[in-house]
Amino acid sequence: MLLQGAHPMDAYGSLFSHGFGSWAGFAKTLGKATPLMLSGLAVTIGLRSGLFNIGVQGQLVSGALAAGWAGYAIHGLPIYIHLPIALLFGIAFGALVGWIAGALKAYRGIHEVITTIMINSIVLALVDYLAGHNFQEPGQTLARTSAVLPSATIPKIFGLPSGFFFAVLLSWGVWWIFQRTTSGFRLDTVGRNKNAAWYAGISVKRSVLIAMGVGGAIAGLGGAIETLGVIGRFEPTFNTGLGFDGITIALLGRANPLGVIPGAILIGGIRGASASMQFDAGVAPEIVDLILALILFCVTAPFLSKWLRSTEVGAKITSGWSN
């Protein structure tokens, strides 16, 4: 920032005051944090199950479009029916996109990093096309759908986006599932030692399908909440990068479902304030990216290498490095 001629203190001050200083800024931060938290949660579930789900972006965007479509195209329903339906659309499409990558891994043995990258490109191109053609708002030249009807819009609580509270609850729920349920124990065991999981009678295939499907569903929900609660319609340009920030957040949280909560708020705050920082202190948005990259690197490098070793894939690559 100094190099760029901006004063760091101004920039941090701006970050803090816009991100967390005022009620409106706070609300904006929480709004930003919601899809981030859910993306982080989706990645976390994968990491805990021994999978690197980097397809969260595609899962989230397909959920966002599906929810957006259900939000404007279905008419004449009261909010307590329409909104859940629209959310379910998001969840279902996210789950489907995640599940495909899971199925390719479980039944064809194709590595999830490869399939999720490819599925990401396909989904992103398809969604762009649909938003610009079949589902385009009539008379629009931009690629975007019509506005979501009020009956499918997520209401706010005291001006704060209620999706946020739901995301926190869900993170806690996932944490509890890993901590206290047999289903969580199954995923966790597969993530830590596939051979021992097999010995213990846990189906590795099923776990892969569940982890990718549930992860996709949560990412899809994140997209749906973003569309129905924050933006108000589906616009491809608004969602860029949310899923990738989810990877950062999951790693920041050390693959702990509760860890995504502070991580998402932090990154949500920085992202939300990025525009104001540019305005107040003249910090280019790229600098914000750079800061995030530095945070990611410093905080996660040791963890990532540990995670790599603790899992099947990682152990194969790294065993014999040391200890």
């Binding site: 349920t181 047999t182 124990f185 030692n193 213990a200 009678g201 014999g320």
Partner: protein
């Protein structure tokens, strides 16, 4: 003569345990020193400090008079220290040759010279009488073979001090004898050897001096000339150990485990078990004796539903067990002590309490519908840690922090604490100290007396001869003879194991 290795007042603590306390030991050139002690006494920790893998809290380690800086592995290697680790340090996806040459590869120009490397590995294997297939992938190999690779890797470089951490735990008796001879030859050429083992016979056979650790401290030192196996055991455990198994006669009933015409492939799709028939009756221990690699591993895995059966069937109490469904087989009352505890038996990043229910986590009382009952887990762990004498600071400690023998005790405790009709025990006392061997043997006999059918597979012929009520000799994927314990005389079993007719 000044000492080759001099350890002075080394102390190392881990959270909740003092692994080494003020330990001083020296090894001279040309001397074989055996390091003895119970599971968790601190042997591995001490030798890891010498090799620079563990950083002691205090104390000095000198090699040829030079102080080595703590936590510096390359320094130790540069001073001529070679080490064979208790837990293998091999890369599973690489071949045997690649693993052995790793770190110091023969080159032609800037390229790897694989042909020379392969030839070198063959020559090495020939020279030390440790047979390996240079082109096999490590992940496909049995633990015994992996151990041979580890040893060859350490012997490849000319070392002045060789540290061997339980190298014989997974070797066959013949291989062990070869290795002991290798150690003698090395010592004769001036190499100092620091040797950890739980097998007192080996100590008596090669050691010049014996140092015994107990609870992290030097409990005493002696030499084979001054004592015998009983004496060593007593010094180690601090009480009298019965090295001879004492058991009553078996009272066998109907056959519980019945194996008919079983055919199973090994990892490389060669027939490893070919038309095997065997019955184990309730209330008896049948020991499978055989040279490693005659299909024992495949047999055990196929019985337990972990490896596909090509044909044939496995019945438990008259009911057919499903193929490739370990969980169902287990819930039909078959418990299984797997031969590779690190690969199958444990999740090393899980706590001891979780590991103690690894294959029952979803059953009452450990779970109700899908909610885990943490209280029941804790009670179970507290009871088993006490009963099986698992040395650990707490039940929440991760398995990775346990010593090798204590990890084995976790697996054995889990499998023998369940009410089972069949116990399949593959190498149940691998890496376990004499006191705990006695205990595990008694537990197997108790399972038998409670009416379980026990199938014992072990590379230790002594273990089989002393525990089994009937001995089944396995050769070339078949049971070639079944002998009553009384007629199973060592020489005869040995000849049958080698494929000779009686």
């Amino acid at each position: 003569m000044s000492a080759l290795l001099e350890i002075t007042n080394v102390t190392k603590t881990f959270p909740g345990v003092v692994a080494n306390e003020n330990i001083s030991i020296s090894v001279s050139a040309g001397e074989i020193v055996a390091l003895l002690g119970e599971n968790g006494a601190g042997k591995s920790t001490l030798v890891k400090s010498v090799f620079g893998m563990v950083r002691p809290d205090s104390g000095e380690i000198r090699i040829k008079g030079e102080l080595i800086s703590p936590g510096d592995t390359s320094g130790a290697i540069a001073r001529g220290v070679g080490m064979v680790h208790q837990h293998f340090q091999l890369v599973p996806v690489m071949t045997v040759t690649e693993n052995i040459i790793l770190g110091d590869e023969p080159k032609r120009g800037i390229f790897l010279n694989m042909k020379a490397a392969r030839a070198e590995v063959l020559a090495l294997s020939e020279k030390y009488g440790l047979e390996v297939d240079p082109d096999a992938f490590v992940e496909d190999l049995a633990v015994g073979t992996q151990q041979r690779i580890e040893i060859l890797k350490a012997l490849r470089k000319d070392v002045d001090l060789l540290i061997l951490d339980e190298p014989t735990a997974v070797l066959t008796p013949q291989e062990t004898d070869e290795l002991l001879q290798v150690m003698r030859n090395l010592a004769a050429s001036g190499v100092g050897v620091l040797f950890i083992t739980h097998k007192l016979r080996e100590v008596m056979a090669v050691a010049d001096r014996v140092v015994v650790l107990r609870n992290g401290r030097v409990a005493g030192s002696t030499s084979p000339k001054e004592t015998d196996e009983e004496g060593l055991a007593q010094l180690m455990v601090g009480r009298n150990v019965v090295l001879q198994v004492e058991k009553g006669d078996a009272k066998p009933e109907a056959a519980t485990l019945v194996i008919r015409e079983l055919h199973v492939n090994d990892d490389r799709k060669h027939l490893a078990v070919s038309g095997l028939n065997l019955e184990v009756r309730a209330g008896e221990i049948v020991g499978v004796a055989g040279v490693e690699g005659n299909g024992q591993r495949e047999l055990v895995e196929a019985i337990c539903g972990m490896r596909p059966r090509i044909s044939g069937e496995v019945l438990v109490s008259g009911e057919a067990t499903p193929d490739m469904h370990p969980h169902k087989v287990h819930s039909m009352g078959v418990s299984h002590i797997p031969e590779d505890r690190e690969k199958h038996g444990l999740v090393s990043s899980y706590s001891i309490e979780d590991n103690l229910v690894l294959n029952q986590f979803d059953r009452e009382p450990f779970a109700k519908s899908w909610i885990r009952n943490i209280g029941a887990l804790e009670d179970n762990a507290t009871r088993l840690v006490e009963e099986f004498d698992i040395r650990t600071p707490s039940i929440k400690t991760t398995a990775s922090a346990l010593s090798g023998g204590n990890k084995q005790k976790v697996v054995v405790a889990r499998e023998l604490s369940q009410d089972t009709r069949v116990v399949v025990a593959a190498q149940p006392t691998r890496g376990v100290d004499v006191g705990s061997i006695e205990f595990i043997h008694n537990q197997l006999i108790a399972a038998r007396d409670a009416g379980a059918a026990v199938l014992l597979v072990s590379a230790e012929l002594d273990e089989i001869l002393s525990l089994a009520d009937r001995v089944a000799v396995m050769f070339g994927g078949k049971i070639v003879a079944i002998l009553d314990a009384k007629e199973a005389e060592r020489g005869l079993v040995g000849r049958l194991m080698a494929g000779l007719s009686a």
